[in-house]
Symmetry: C2
Subunit: 349 residues, 2 copies
């Protein structure tokens, strides 16, 4: 695949940031160009860009724009301008770990710099490097995972762990892309992923864009497709992986995993090492509840009566016994996970 | 519960048919009044009324209106008018078994009659009796099922097996109503039931109307709620039950049943004896595929790209080993089902 063909979520070009406006998907593929860090802050706030890795890099690019916008004459003045921009960018999604991480990386580079023009240049270089690294990690992960899939496989995926959640290429969809690039002829079944429909809006869009055969199903048809022999393997992303191999991911992942186990279908996770949380225990992880309106309406259309209760958890937990392997840029961890995850991190040091 | 409080899907009153317009739910509870059988045909065609038992009775009421509309002077002329109306009504949903059955019941009454006025009266009486019988069966089923549920239970249900799928009271929701009426304090979790959203549009509406505590979840959160101890029991309806205890019901039922088994949660079916198909084997039952647009859009809002494949089965099959009991008007069948179902039918003769 040529680099020009990549679905690139966020990119630095001619001193500007170019993003896919994800609020317009799947109906239109619109690129937006930003030259002011305040525009980046709005874009993150309004979900023009989403997905933890994509937001981390977008924050770094925001600071790079702030550096270019600055009229500072001294290093101290420039740091002051950057601190103000960092505050604005951080407050858009204060709980996103990757955003804080991306902003901090850039501030460290600025503080280590000497002259104003040298600092501006190294900020831009660092932000571009962060974006390139994200793609490289995904491509390595994809290669590591591609050996697990066979010619003529139909692969199910849930939610969007794709190019649109990263800078490009994706995690779970990166593995699917790499499998296809390795010459294997594969098909994909994408679950709709209610309530926010990342499966139909983003995954189906991405795969169709890449010319990969994709079938959309409602979340209620996971069992039917597996029971009827229509699925060979499953691969999904992850939001947090514990040292025990417990995986927190988009709501619905657990039931896909249980159904896969019941039907003898291998179930894989694809996520970079930065997704691992080696300290927490399963009971420590708080699963956030999201707005009821995501479930009671679709867009502006009301689909439930007023005055009822709604349970709308963002994530669920898949226990390690349902997981066949965890694909990372450092290799594939296999059960028992306490051991294999430790080894992955040792090998990556 | 007073009869006036019943959510009545279809009713005969003052020589007219009154229906709840289900296309307006959950946003408005609108009653429509029909005095012409052609209006009944349109209502069935346009899903103002849906659900197999409700449609069967609606067809019978349609023929009762046709009898009142007829200017026939002889029995033969009246039968001719009824045959014409029957054709119009039948063609609205030619595959619905209950519609054909409802129309046939009325034609038999007409053919056995003597004078025009006597036939008109017995048609109206028979149609009203069919509606009353539907409610009685549901209430008996409800009582039979209510003993299986405990005070403070939270009961999950899928799709709408409620008043709105029958004349009134419902099958699975009839059991829930009867449990509440027996003095037990219960709560309900309703799954959204994509793609057509009968759970959020109809079940949540019905239960809220009856003052029963209802929480709506996306179909992706079934596993989460069960794994987190939020569900004590499950009850759903059925579209077809085989002599082996294999149950065909709305897509998504199978995965709810598997998750219930995994978490030790009793899983019940509630359906009248007329739902049983004692002849077919599991592999004989063809599961219809519905329109792709149900999955790729919600109302007029497009939620998926053009040009992708869609798998949209209307039903799935739940095997008997996942089912704790089948609640009918003749009693509750327990495993092994080949035996217990046979006994139910023998007892009901």
């Amino acid at each position: 695949m040529e680099k020009a063909d990549l679905l690139r979520t966020v990119e630095w070009k001619n001193n500007a940031v170019i993003m896919i406006d994800q609020t317009k998907l799947p109906n239109e593929l619109v690129l937006v160009t930003y030259t002011d860090y305040n525009q980046i802050a709005s874009a993150i706030r309004n979900l023009v860009v989403r997905g933890a890795p994509a937001i981390g890099v977008s924050g770094a690019f925001g600071l790079a724009l702030a550096a270019l916008q600055s009229n500072a004459g001294t290093k101290e003045e420039l740091i002051g301008d950057l601190e103000a921009a960092k505050k604005t960018l951080f407050e858009t999604r204060p709980t996103a770990v990757n955003l804080a991480w991306g902003l901090e990386q850039i501030m460290n580079v600025a503080k280590k710099g000497t002259t104003v023009s040298q600092i501006k240049n190294s900020i831009i270089d660092t932000a571009k490097q962060m974006a390139d690294d994200d793609i490289k990690i995904n491509m390595t992960m994809g290669k590591n995972g591609s050996v697990l899939f066979d010619d003529k496989d139909t692969i199910m995926t849930h939610c969007n762990a794709g190019a649109l959640a990263t800078v490009a290429y994706g995690t779970a969809l990166g593995v699917i892309r790499a499998t296809r690039e390795s010459g294997k002829n594969i098909k994909v079944i994408a679950t709709e992923t209610r309530p926010v429909q990342q499966g139909s809006r983003l995954t189906a869009f991405e795969l169709k864009h890449d010319g990969i055969d994709v079938s959309l199903i409602p979340d209620t048809a996971v069992g039917y497709t597996m029971a009827n022999g229509l699925v060979n393997k499953v691969v999904v992303g992850a939001d947090r992986i514990l040292r025990t191999g417990h995986v927190f991911n988009k709501i619905g992942t657990y039931q896909v995993a249980l159904l896969a186990k019941q039907h003898g279908i291998p179930f894989y996770i694809a996520a970079p090492l930065s997704t691992f949380d080696l300290k927490s225990n399963p009971q420590d992880v708080v699963i956030e509840q999201r707005n009821a309106s995501e479930v009671t309406q679709v867009g502006d259309r009301k689909t439930a009566p007023d005055g009822i209760n709604v349970i709308n958890p963002a994530f669920d937990m898949t226990p390690p016994e349902l997981i066949s392997g965890i694909i990372t840029e450092a290799g594939v961890a296999r059960p028992p996970y306490e051991e294999s995850i430790k080894k992955l991190f040792q090998a990556n040091k």
